[in-house]
Every structure is written in C-alpha cells, then in structure tokens.
C-alpha cells in the first residue's frame, strides 16, 4: 500500500528541516492515537483509563493524542496536562454518547488526525464505542497498526449482543493486538470476536494509590458504616441493595449506609428508605466527583459492591486502598482482582450478600481485621498506571513490527473469518473505504498536509522537568 510509504516520506521531509527533530523522533518510539467515544467531560472507567494511560505513556517519551467526538460546545482541539492533545471531532452522537457509524463518513477527519500527527499505532478503546470500531477499520485502510482494549463483558444471547459481537468480529479480524482488563474479559472477547487467544493480552486497570489513602479518624466510632459507590443502575445490582438495606438495618441498630452515585434506580433506594423509616441511617449522596470519592470512602468500615456484571471493577480496589473491608458479588472478573483475605465474595442474591456482610460485621465488632494502613500498603502496589503503561508499551513494540495486510489479503481474510454474508458485505465496505481514501488523497495529498506542532512543545520543551530529566 502506497499510502504508508508516502506518510514515511513526509516524516523524513519534516525531520530534515531540523536536525534536532531527528533526535526527537528517534528518541520517541511510538506516535499513538487513542480513539474512543468516551472521554472527558464524560466520566467513567474507560475515560480515566485512557487519560491515565496516556499520561504515563507521555512520561515515558511517547507521543500520544486522543480522538473523541465533540461534547456539546467542546469541539476542536484541546490540550490537557503535560501537552496531551485531544481532538473533539464533530461527529454525530447517536445513542448514549456513542456516535453513529457508517464505516465511511469518519474517514476524512480521522485521516487528518492520523496524517497530521504522524501516527504509527492506533489504539481504540471500548467495544461500545462505534468511533473506536470506525478508527480500527480506517487505520487498516491507511496501513497502520492497531491495538484494541476491551473494557466490558458481553453476553451472547440477545439480539443487541449478537449484532455487537458480529461488528467486533469484523473490526478485530485484522487488528494486531487486543488488550483485555481481566482473564474473564479475555475469554469473553476471544469467544465474541473469534480470535486467536495469543494475540490477546491481559493488562488490568489501575488505581492511583496516592488518591486513595486511609484515614481511620474519619470513621465515627459509635457505628458501622457500609459504603456503596456506583452508578445507580440495574447492572450494578441496586435492586439487591434495596433488599439488603432493610434486612441488615433491622438486625443491627448501629449500621449506617452511605451511598454515592446517581441513576434511575435511586427511586428503589428512596422507596426502601421511606418504607422502613431509615432516613437517618441511609444517606444518598447523589453523583460524586472523582476527587470527592476518597472523602466518602474513608468514612466507612465496609465497602459493598453488588454489581451483576463487571470486567474488572476498579471500585473495589479503591475501597480496599482506603483500608475498607470489601464485600462483593462473585461475577465476571471480580474474583481475580483482590486476594481472598481482602475480599468477601458472595453470590448475587440478597441472602448470600447479607450472610457475607454479617460475617464481616461480626469480625469488625471483634476488631479482628488488620488495620486500614496495612491493607492500604498491601493494595497500593497491586495495580499502578506505571505498570499498565510498561505492559502496554510492550504491546506497541510488538505491534509496530508487524505487517499490515494489503487490500487483497485483507478482503480474503474478512471473507474467510467473518462468515460468507457479513464478510462479503464488509469486504465491500473495505473496498469503498479504500476508494474513498484514494479520492481523499487525490483531493489533498498527504504531502500537502501540515504536520501538527507537537503538543509537548518544540523539542519537548513544555514537558515537565522531571520527565525530561528521565528521558533526555
């Protein structure tokens, strides 16, 4: 494919301008573009994962840009900490912050980003994000290597998962490497997208341990507090929580609940609170900002998670990092996350969760748990972003050396891998995409496109002093 060579030519041209530039490019290994529909100002696991990972990669001397869709008036190019450049592309949002997908229309914008930023690796996040799927597709058309991170688990039974899984099969059929956040998630993704398990790596999420430090002095001495922090939606098992609260509150008069988060299931909790007259013992805090989470966590003794499905569950790590005893349902990847003595796993039923909580409450009363500080010390080094970045870097190192399938091979692979019907349809779409790319390259050749000014400043001058010392 000619487009790749041309991009390389641009790179040499631009670097010839300045000998310092050459040093800079040799110094930095990868130019990474993270693509996902989900990014700040949206808040959640995927968003913080992308942000934290990008920050760590920048610190390691890579160039990272993020492409997402425009959020309201937030469109165009924005800069975040350490010169992390974010493209808010004007793409139409269709459903719950996911863009509409036609497999073709986003090509001009994404090509612009990839060419201007001289991207070598496209890293897409989340299978819910259609922009991520689009980017994987276009990147292959443009001859770039791709990595995909899957953050969620999916079933196989209902119509929506059948369709999403087919789409995933198609976009991942020539993706170089896939990253999953837990072993369960890996099994799930391998089955959903019919993948060779050897191109799927497991790299867990991480938690910033300095954000989540214990402070036992914040705990009221005369009561036992159970903290729940999650979105109040069905998938987080809030209905179970609505059954647990009256059961336990009747048995333990000194038990209090502290619930952070917002969502449609708030009604259930409010009704329970109303019916059993628990207004002084069940506090609903509403939506919490990330910086306020620690302040709520340290007030509790026990952290409760009632999720019905979870690929990794950062919340329980945050809870344990603040020194709380964690009680959680045994679903998805949760059993892999914490060692057995830091977590009490229960079946997703009210009975089992109440039994688990009773055990923990009894132990808490007899003071037989290790101190919050010692729990924090055990958890703080389990999951760090630095470690995630190192492992992801290895994936990039592996990926850039791989060959990108030329068009003919790619079409053959689509048809052999994705079934005769969907495979043929998407082979046709891949053709269209390629022709569209040729048209775009004819209208505006890559060599006339300006190379973007590096967001870390000329020669990385704007990068933080500490990181400069490390890498220069």
């Amino acid at each position: 494919m000619g487009q790749r060579r041309r991009a390389g030519a641009v790179k040499t041209l631009s670097s010839e301008r300045d000998s310092a530039d050459v040093a800079r490019i040799c110094n930095r290994k990868h130019n990474i573009c993270m693509v996902s529909d989900f990014f700040y100002p949206n808040m959640g696991g995927v968003e913080s994962h992308i942000y934290q990972l990008s920050q760590c990669l920048i610190e390691k001397g890579h160039k990272v840009v993020i492409a997402t869709h425009a959020y309201g008036r937030r469109r165009g190019v924005r800069y975040l900490t350490n010169g992390l450049k974010v493209y808010y592309l004007p793409l139409q949002v269709m459903y719950s912050q996911s863009t509409a997908t036609t497999c073709v229309h986003s090509l001009p914008l994404l090509r612009c980003v990839f060419v201007r930023e001289q991207i070598t690796v496209v890293h897409a996040h989340s299978s819910f994000s259609s922009m991520a799927h689009d980017a994987l597709f276009h990147a292959k058309t443009m001859g770039l290597n791709t990595v995909f991170t899957d953050h969620s688990l999916f079933g196989f039974a209902d119509l929506s998962s059948v369709l999403t899984n087919k789409l995933l099969t198609i976009t991942l059929c020539d993706t170089n490497h896939i990253v999953c956040v837990s072993y369960t998630s890996k099994e799930n993704t391998v089955l959903r997208a019919v993948l060779n398990p050897e191109i799927v790596s497991v790299i867990p999420n991480a938690v910033d341990p300095t954000d989540f430090t214990p402070d036992p002095s914040q705990r009221p001495a005369d009561r036992i507090t159970i903290v729940v922090i999650s979105r109040l939606v069905y998938r987080k098992g809030i209905d179970l929580l609505g059954g647990i609260i009256p059961e336990l509150c009747l048995k333990h008069p000194d038990l209090h609940f502290l619930i952070g988060g917002e969502g449609p299931k708030r009604l259930v909790l409010e009704e329970v609170r109303e019916k059993y007259q628990l207004h002084d013992r069940v506090r609903l805090l509403g939506a919490l900002e990330h910086k306020d989470v620690r302040g709520v966590l340290v007030q509790g003794h026990i952290f409760l998670n009632t999720s019905l499905t979870e690929a990794f569950c950062m919340a329980i790590v945050e809870g344990a990092s603040c020194g709380l005893q964690v009680v959680s349902t045994r679903v998805g990847g949760i059993p892999e996350v914490l060692p057995d003595d830091l977590i009490t796993l229960c079946e997703p039923t009210v009975r089992s969760l109440c039994d688990g909580l009773e055990q923990v409450i009894a132990k808490q009363r007899s003071d037989s748990f290790p101190s919050p500080a010692s729990i924090h010390n055990r958890v703080r080094n389990l999951y760090t972003w630095k470690n995630v970045a190192e492992r992801t870097e290895k994936v990039y190192d592996k990926v850039v050396g791989e060959e990108v399938l030329p068009l003919a091979k790619r079409l053959r692979r689509l048809r052999s891998h994705c079934g005769p019907v969907a495979g043929s349809i998407f082979a046709f779409v891949a053709m269209l995409d390629f022709l569209f790319l040729l048209l775009l390259q004819w209208l505006l050749p890559d060599r006339f496109m300006d190379v973007a000014v590096d967001a870390t400043g000329p020669h990385g001058l704007w990068r933080q002093k500490t990181s400069r010392k490390k890498f220069d």
Partner: protein
C-alpha cells in the same frame, strides 16, 4: 512477549490479577475457557407438542379469513345484515354460556365481575356502535376504495403479527385495535348503516371475544381445543373457497406451513443450537424483591 515463550517453571498459572506471575501477558493456559458451559438448561421440543401450539396461529389466520368471507358476502348482498346480527347474537350468547361454564369450573370466587356488569358493557357497546354506525358508514367516503382496502390489509396483517399467541386472553391492545380499525375501514364500504353495525358486531365477536373463549378452552380441555382449531381452519378455508378458489388455496398453504412445516423447521434447527455461558454472563436476580418495597 509471545505465548510460546512461556517459561516452564514449576509454578502453575493462576487466574488472578493481583499476583505478578512469571508469564507473558498474552499467555494462554491449559485452563483457558475451562468454565465455558454449552447449551445449559435448553428446552427440548417435541414435534407434535409444537404443532399443537402452532395450531393457534393457523386458527387466527383462519379467523381473519372467516371475517373477510362474511364481509365479501355482505358486500355482494348475499347475506342480509339481519341474518348476521341474529347469528352473532346467538353465537355470542352461546359463547358467553360456555365461558361462564369454564370459569365456574376453574375458580369459583376469585372473579368479582357480575353478569350485570357484562350485560351493561355489552349494551353500552352495542348502543354506541348502533348510534354511530351512520357516522362510521360515511367516515371514509372521501378516501379512495383502493386506499381503504390497502389500509385494511395492512391492519389485518398487523393484527396477525402483534397477536399475543402465548396468552391470547385478553387480546393485546395493538392487535385488537388494528383489527377493529380494519373492520371499520371495511365496514364503511358496505351499502347501509345496518350493514356497518352488523359487521362491527361480528368483528367484536371474532377479534375480541373469541380469543378469550379459546384461551379458556385451551386451559380446560386441550383435546377439544385441537378439535376447535381444526374446525376453524376448515371453516376459514371452506368459506373462502366459496368466494375465491385461489385465496382458499393460498390460505390452506399458509395454514399447513405454519402448523406443520414451521414446527418441523424449529425441531430440526434445534440440533444446531449452540448457546454458550460462562463467568462473564450478567447475573440474574432470581428472587422476588418487590416485597421489600410493598
């Protein structure tokens, strides 16, 4: 990196993330996918049981055909509206009696609805329909006949598609409304106001009350239910045959394929079912949690 480069240490791989293990990130262990379960709790279908259930679909198809047959007869003046009204009345009373008999068989005191209430709603409906039938008669005068026919066809199709075959009593609101809309359209093309009234009463009988009786029949005497279904299907095909032979052939083909071929297909495809379950499935809340709220 590289899964084949896995070290041959004596430490076994564990499915945990909190421990740094001496394996590469893309390592695939022997135990990969060991928790995968296939076709769990799957329902085995038996052919004749499915045919029996599917006969309800054929029956409903024939009901529509019977209604259309009545309409064709009325339109050509072969059936006097008085005759249809009296027949409907007799059938309605007969059906009501049967329905009551079945009800008293199953549960004696749970239903609080009295005969008087039934009579009241019947009287109310009939008087309103009678009063409004001149209006309904002229309702679609400004619309072309082709449009009315097309609309009726679409609505009857919608009725068939949205009919709650699993639990036909009470008939679903969408299916009932579609059927009544179609009947109003068709009835407005008849020659007189009394025709319209008779047609609408007949529609009520066929689309609203008959499914309720049929459901009771299905619950109480499955054997008779099959007989009734066969009877209705024969009636539908026979009635249509007296008006249009081609239509009757098509209807009988449809009924046969729905009741005999489709179940065959279902049972045959059952063998290819491959349902996978595993730890990634979303947990289901099996308990009834409503008692905490109410």
């Amino acid at each position: 990196m590289g899964a084949d480069g896995a070290p041959s240490q004596s430490v076994p791989w564990r499915k945990v993330l909190w421990e740094r293990q001496p394996f590469p990130d893309n390592y695939v262990d022997q135990r990969f996918l060991e928790e995968l379960r296939r076709n769990e709790g799957i329902r085995e279908y038996r052919y004749w049981a499915v045919v029996k259930e599917a006969s309800l679909v054929g029956q409903q198809l024939s009901c529509v055909a019977i209604f259309i047959t009545f309409w064709l007869y009325m339109e050509q003046g072969l059936l006097a509206p008085e005759t249809l009204l009296w027949t409907s009345l007799v059938c309605g009373l007969l059906g009501y009696g049967l329905y009551q008999a079945f009800t008293s068989q199953t549960d004696s005191c749970s239903e609080t609805r009295t005969h008087l209430a039934d009579l009241q709603s019947a009287a109310l409906f009939l008087s309103f329909t009678f009063g409004f039938s001149p209006v309904l008669k002229t309702l679609t005068e400004s619309v072309s006949t082709d449009t009315v026919y097309a609309m009726s066809a679409v609505m009857l199709l919608a009725h068939l598609v949205s009919f709650p075959y699993g639990e036909p009593s009470p008939p679903g609101s969408l299916s009932l409304n579609a059927a009544l809309f179609a009947s109003v359209c068709l009835a407005s093309r008849l020659p007189g106001a009394l025709h319209t009234f008779a047609m609408l009463s007949c529609a009520l009988l066929v689309f609203a009350l008959w499914p309720c009786l049929l459901q009771r029949l299905r619950e109480n005497s499955p054997l008779q239910f099959t007989g009734v279904c066969v009877g209705v299907c024969t009636g539908g095909v026979g009635g249509l045959a007296s008006q249009s032979l081609g239509g009757a052939v098509l209807l009988s083909l449809a009924v046969v394929s729905v009741t005999f071929l489709c179940p065959l297909l279902l049972v045959w495809l059952q063998r290819h079912k491959d349902n996978i379950h595993g730890p990634w499935d979303e947990a289901e809340i099996c308990e009834d949690l409503s008692h905490f709220l109410h």
